[in-house]
């Protein structure tokens, strides 16, 4: 089921960025977040954080993420997450 066909690419980037800012960044990191940095390698998100992000993406965008999709190519940066979500939405429509 896809209940979020109205999101464009910028909406998705903004929504994911806000979630990362609200849940993982320290107050002095919240300005100028880089959508291309590796959240895992830069120790912004840990393994539990990956699970929290996946839960958020499924709930917010109405998508289903499989275990074999929990890979850095899909989830390691805000940009990669956004493109991954966009593909999932496109494939479901």
């Amino acid at each position: 089921m896809n209940k979020n066909l109205g999101y464009n690419e910028k909406d998705i980037v903004d929504i994911i960025s806000q979630f990362i800012i609200n849940n993982f960044l320290l107050s002095n990191q919240k300005e100028n977040i880089d959508v291309n940095i590796s959240l895992y390698e830069d120790r912004i998100v840990d393994s539990t954080g990956v699970l929290e992000i996946v839960d958020f993406l499924e709930e917010k965008f109405g998508i289903k993420i499989e275990d074999d999709e929990l890979v850095p190519d899909n989830l390691d940066s805000i940009n990669k997450m956004s493109k991954f979500v966009q593909r999932k939405i496109d494939n479901a429509s």
Partner: protein, 134 residues
């Protein structure tokens, strides 16, 4: 264990509040993605449910570190199952990719210890195996 064995260790700590937040919001997605049915039944029968789910998650992460697993091939947290013996001692049961990795590395034994306090759960895992395959 003898002198030719290799040892690998892994440790992880989980803030229990993060687990509470994910399991108290009324959806089971987080639980069903991470835990096996046996683990869910075990934790839900405990007084402090979040403490036990957090301990299990720390345990899974500690084992994955000891096995030197990466997330390049995807993560199935249910592949690392932690059950309890009748005397309460936790024991690791591997499935799927985790079992494959352990077999490839000739892991002979995995031991784990889990503890939790008011705010944090921590787990420590040790694997022993054949040094030739380290």
């Amino acid at each position: 264990m003898d002198l030719i064995d290799s040892i690998s260790i892994g440790v992880d700590i989980v803030y229990i509040g993060r687990i509470s937040k994910n399991i108290d919001d009324g959806n089971d997605r987080f639980i069903n993605r991470v835990y096996t049915k046996g683990e869910i039944d075990y934790c839900k029968n405990k007084k402090n449910i979040s403490h036990h789910f957090a301990g299990r998650l720390a345990g899974k992460e500690a084992v994955s570190k000891a096995l030197k697993m990466s997330w390049e091939g995807g993560i199935n947290w249910k592949d690392i199952e932690i059950i309890n013996e009748k005397n309460g001692i936790p024991r690791v049961v591997l499935h799927g990719e985790a079992k494959k990795v352990a077999n490839e590395r000739k892991i002979k034994n995995i031991r784990i210890s889990i503890s939790h306090e008011k705010e944090y759960a921590i787990a420590f895992a040790v694997t022993t195996g054949d040094k030739k395959n380290e």
